[in-house]
């Protein structure tokens, strides 16, 4: 297996992030755990939105369904938390796979709105589910699983942070590989020219559905991580506003770049936590950021390095390497 540059950066980033508990206290380590979770969801959603070109306003459904699936398994059926996590992910992915054939027949605005409706159905089920789903109050009191070893305690902030970092790294690595594979490139082809893809023999609907399931599955994994972090799952994790935050993370980060949405997803969560502690105007600030990103930075955060490079060139600063004399006249 060849490790390319992107993957080396990913691994280096993960190693660097291992230092967070050493440098920061519990508060920031906890916040970074959540940032990894929200960044991860946005990155998974980017496969669907940025690659396949299907903008979804229902990603929170897969995030929340996994959480509810696991929480109900633990609280109502007394399942082992590890097993419950698997059940939660399977429930979420199974619902995604069942809904995918219908969803991927839509494009653009129709897809966006049907996903909004899909998400709201589950939000409705959760809030009206009575004592089984905990209704408006959700399901508190979910304990974290344990490795059964003393040196890695998932109940501790630091232990759970490292676990989340490990899971996030694995998911990012998988998604980055998928994105560069022939399958990943075919999703770009579908986004850019569906008819052509069909006439050269690609099964467009199946590939769309597969990308839908991949986004859902990664949303589900992070839904589980969020459940165990908070010890709680509630209707807020199925809320369309959370879906909107995920979709905006993809746009602000730079759709189709994976790392942009990851940074934006994590960054927006940290910003949200800070801003909501100071004022109640978070939605306005999020809206403002979105407008700013669309107007000033259409390529998102991920386009900043390229913009900076071209700007440096415009300003005429000296290039790092001497120009090849063969090229310069």
């Amino acid at each position: 297996m060849r490790i390319v540059r992107d993957e080396r950066i990913l691994i280096a980033g993960a190693v660097l992030l291992c230092a967070v508990p050493l440098v920061f206290g519990n508060y920031w380590t906890g916040l970074m755990t959540q940032a990894l979770i929200f960044g991860g969801v946005a990155l998974g959603l980017d496969i669907l939105v940025g690659f396949t070109g299907l903008p979804s306003l229902g990603q929170a459904a897969f995030f929340g369904l996994a959480g509810y699936g696991a929480a109900i398994s633990i609280l109502r059926y007394d399942l082992n938390p590890w097993l419950a996590a698997v059940v939660g992910i399977l429930v979420s992915v199974a619902i995604a796979v069942a809904f995918a054939p219908l969803a991927v027949r839509m494009r653009g605005l129709a897809f966006l709105t049907i996903m909004l409706a899909f998400g709201q159905v589950w939000w409705g089920v959760a809030t009206r589910g009575g004592s089984f789903t905990g209704g408006e109050n959700g399901l508190p009191g979910v304990r974290r699983p344990s490795f059964g070893v003393s040196w890695w305690d998932l109940e501790s902030t630091n232990g759970y942070y490292v676990f989340t970092l490990l899971c996030t790294t694995v998911v990012c690595f998988l998604l980055a590989r998928i994105a560069r594979s022939p399958f990943g490139v075919s999703l770009i082809g579908i986004r850019e020219n569906e008819t052509r893809m069909t006439t050269i023999g690609y099964h467009v609907a199946a590939r769309r559905a597969a990308s839908f399931a991949i986004a859902a599955a990664s949303g589900a994994v992070f839904g589980i991580l969020s459940l165990f972090f908070n010890g709680y799952v509630g209707p807020g994790s199925l809320d369309w506003r959370l879906s909107a935050q995920f979709l905006l993370s993809v746009v602000i980060g730079g759709a189709g770049t994976l790392w942009g949405p990851f940074l934006a997803g994590g960054g927006l969560h940290i910003l949200k936590t800070y801003v909501t502690g100071q004022t109640q105007y978070w939605p306005m600030i999020l809206g403002g950021l979105y407008v700013l990103a669309v107007v000033a930075l259409p390529g998102g955060i991920a386009s900043i390095p390229a913009l900076a490079r071209s700007r440096r060139k415009l300003l005429g600063s000296r290039p790092k390497r001497p120009i090849d004399p063969a090229i310069s006249e």
Binding site: R2, V4, R177, I178, R180, S181, P182, F183, G184, V185, S186, I188, G189, E192, N193, T195, R196, M197, T198, T199, I200, G201, Y202, H203, V204
Partner: protein, 250 residues
Amino acid sequence: MSAGSDVALDVSGLTVRFGGIVALSEVALSVQRGSRYGILGPNGSGKTTLFNAISGLNTPSAGRISLLGVEVTSLPARVRAHLGLARTFQITSLFPSLTVLENVAMATRMAEGVAGNWWSAAAGQTGANTDAAAMLDRLGIAHLAGRPVRSLGYGEQRQLEIAMALATRPSVLLLDEPTAGLSNTETAALTQLVRALPAELTILIIEHDLGVIFEVTDRLTVLQNGVVIASGPSTEIREDPIVKEVYLGR
């Protein structure tokens, strides 16, 4: 598939309606393997609709289409592609943000059977990429390999259209106005290219340029208002009084 069949494409009683409009009415044509078959007709006569029906992009209201001995009338476009059908588009239809090589590799990966790989890097698929590079070389656009398609000139995009279609290794190729919008020099080059394609490849070509049509094709079907008004060897069609009046005479 009846291997002994000499007919590459057989269309009978083909009718395509869009709402109340009859785009094609009872169209029949039979194309021999290795034939160079021209489709001629004024704008709006149903030529592209015929190609769309053959390639599976629209659903006929009536009639049958058989490709290389297989009845394909109700089969989806991608299955027809796997049976050996490829086409180009009158309005250039590419992947603008990808490079020229990546565009062609999208087709060669399908031909090599590696398009479903979700683990290895697409850029590392040596077989498919070598094939794609060879295809670019064959069409004389190898120097454009690394360029994003959106940065290409129109004539170069028209060549890439054909490269992508050929990269699927088709047995039957549909060319929809390949020279539309090209200069005289470009048209001449493209005509040479079509003439140089392997003899066993069956080609159907829609073309407005009569010079190209009579230079390339051996048989012709002439459409008008969705109806076949003449069909036969190109040399005979050229002298057909009805065709002369409707189309050639202008």
